[in-house]
């Protein structure tokens, strides 16, 4: 009862803030909406007994990445004139949303609903704990994980190469 009520409230906050985030013309407003979206998403994770993922969601996305994004927006210091041609095109957004949902989400959901994915099952003892996630990440998926960090490093080096005229 309490859980489903909380779920409805958090889900509503998530959807509304996410929609506001893509429809605001002011980049600061949309980033603030994104902060709230991340926070409600983290609460949803916590409700789904993934405590560690929830904490990491707040730490990395709301506390780290978005701060950097806002930092960049502030340094650019856009005024009202620059923002006029950034008015969202609602028709385009709607079409994109329909294509994305129909093309990717719907087939996934269809396939998953035919499998036993949605069947009720008991969770393992330490589900969502840092130990389990760590052991999966650093034992089973060690190679892809390290490759990902290499890709991020490549991106950083690439930015340095492009932005600096003289290295």
């Amino acid at each position: 009862m309490v859980e489903s009520l909380l779920f409805i409230i958090l889900g509503a906050v998530l959807i509304i803030t996410a929609l506001l985030g893509i429809t605001r013309t002011n980049p600061i407003s949309s980033s603030l909406c994104l902060v709230f979206a991340f926070l409600s998403l983290a609460s949803l994770y916590a409700m789904l007994s993934s405590a560690f993922v929830a904490a990491i969601q707040v730490l990395v996305y709301a506390g780290g990445i978005l701060v950097l994004i806002i930092f960049v927006i502030m340094i650019m210091h856009l005024n009202e004139k620059d923002l006029v041609h950034l008015k969202p095109k609602y028709m385009l957004m709607l079409v994109t949303a329909v294509i994305v949902v129909a093309g990717t989400l719907a087939p996934c959901l269809y396939v998953l609903s035919r499998s036993s994915f949605f069947a009720a099952q008991t969770l393992p003892e330490n589900f969502g704990s840092a130990e389990l996630i760590g052991s999966v990440l650093f034992e089973h998926y060690l190679f892809p994980f390290e490759m990902l960090s290499l890709i991020l490093l490549t991106a950083i080096v690439g930015v340095m190469v492009i932005s600096k005229k003289k290295l």
Binding site: V35, L59, V67, M74
Partner: protein, 434 residues
């Protein structure tokens, strides 16, 4: 009572308590800061505000400040972005108060079949969440600076966010080393791990098993980063008066300014309690475990009484030494006798608690009262440890000058960051050998 109701009551009671702890510490800290400045600069300090001549060592100044700020006109300039301008101080204050909810202030009580936790949420990855929430504090400064629509405010908030991002890295990596040393991620189990003696390569070292001894480098890095995160003096470029007026809160007045001011002190209180929890054993009392204390709760009560007596005695002596001089300089109504009366009361309290000690030693307590006594002693231990850090904050503020901006960034990125990375590597090597 079923366990769900009990848990709900526990959470509500502890939430109110934990919410009030920083709020009650704020006026005390403002007073301590002014008196600390006075001691270091060889002055008397605030002593003018009085009610019928009673001054309470300048404590009334904090009340006078609060009343002044409450009754000032709340100006919202026309050129600000209203929503963010109003939201920013509330955001700062909220984020400052929340992290304390994850910290235990005493070991849990066993009431019947239920466990009463002195902690709002015993979150399984509590330490990560603690730093995640602390990291959200930067938005308060961000939006205050941006919404004020003022160059000085924007510069202040840009400085603050750059500083917080840089020092969060060093802080986070120091925490990783600490987590590796404890091999725990929940705050309550970290505190429980710090009881008893330290063991190093199977030898017992005569030191308590505290973070500061397990991982001293992480402690130093964390301490420096905590000063930077709370925007305190060697790192208070955020509001460098000589350069950018007052930084991000230049445009704020009345209670909105007061909220920023309170948030800074609340951050200090929370940072001190977190440091005491992670590095000074939290509520643990050195060399004694909670079990031993509970079996000998009459001695624990004696310890509480002796501590109270000592504190009253020291405070009484300090007050009595000043009583005569102050009585002469403030020759109005009650002010003349005030210091004498207070010092005699303090001496009387000290004597009372000393006389109670022989009575208490012969008493034996049941299970629940002894647990409550031990919890009280543990809370005193935690807040005593936090007071050490709070005094350090005050002392550093009045002794060290402000850093230059490039020095600040160099310290963050070129010293603290590599040092904490190296510390993680060394901690890992040591752990793999033990």
């Amino acid at each position: 009572m079923d366990s769900l109701t009990f848990g709900a009551i526990n959470i509500v009671v502890m939430a109110v308590v934990m919410w009030n702890i920083p709020l009650q510490f704020i006026p005390l800290m403002i007073w301590l800061e002014r008196k600390g400045a006075a001691i270091i600069q060889d002055r008397i300090g605030p002593l003018r505000a009085n009610i019928f001549g009673i001054r309470l060592f300048g404590l009334l100044h904090t009340i006078a400040d609060a009343i002044k700020l409450l009754f000032k006109e709340d100006i919202i300039p026309n050129h600000v972005h209203r929503l963010y301008y109003v939201m920013a101080p509330f955001w700062s204050m909220t984020v400052a108060l929340v992290p304390l909810m994850l910290i235990p202030i005493a070991s849990p009580l066993q009431i019947g079949a239920h466990l009463f936790r002195f902690q709002v949420a015993d979150y399984s990855s509590g330490l990560v969440l603690l730093f995640a929430i602390t990291g959200l504090g930067v938005y308060g400064t961000f939006f205050a600076g941006w919404a004020s629509n003022n160059k000085y405010s924007l510069l202040g908030s840009l400085r603050s966010s750059a500083q917080m991002i840089s020092y969060e890295l060093g802080m986070g990596l120091a925490i990783v080393a600490v987590l590796m040393a404890y091999q725990e991620i929940s705050v309550s189990s970290i505190v429980e791990k710090q009881s008893g003696m330290m063991k190093l390569f199977h030898w017992v070292v005569p030191l308590p098993n505290w973070g500061i001894f397990l991982n001293p480098v992480a402690f130093v890095v964390f301490l420096v980063s905590a000063f930077a995160e709370t925007n305190r003096t060697p790192f208070d470029l955020v509001e460098g008066e000589s350069e950018i007026v007052a930084g991000y809160h230049t445009e704020y007045s009345s209670m909105k300014f007061a909220l920023f001011f309170m948030a800074e002190y609340a951050h200090m209180v929370v940072a001190s309690i977190v440091m005491a929890t992670l590095f000074l054993g939290g509520y643990q009392i050195p060399y004694v475990t909670t079990e031993q204390l509970r079996h000998n709760s009459h001695y624990a009560l004696c310890a509480i009484l002796i501590i109270i007596a000592l504190l009253c005695l020291i405070a009484g002596i300090i007050v009595y030494k000043r009583a005569k001089a102050y009585g002469m300089s403030f020759a109005e109504k009650l002010g003349k006798k005030e210091y004498f009366v207070i010092s005699y009361l303090l001496f009387a309290a000290a004597l009372m608690s000393i006389f109670l000690v022989p009575l208490v030693v012969q008493m034996r307590f049941a299970a629940l009262p002894s647990q409550i006594i031990v919890a009280a002693l543990q809370m005193m231990a935690l807040f005593g440890k936090a007071m050490i850090f709070l005094w350090l904050y005050v002392h550093v503020r009045w002794t060290l000058p402000r850093f230059r901006y490039d020095q600040l960034m160099n310290l963050g990125w070129k010293i603290l960051f590599p040092v904490s990375l190296l510390n993680i590597a060394i901690t890992g090597i040591v752990i793999s050998f033990t």
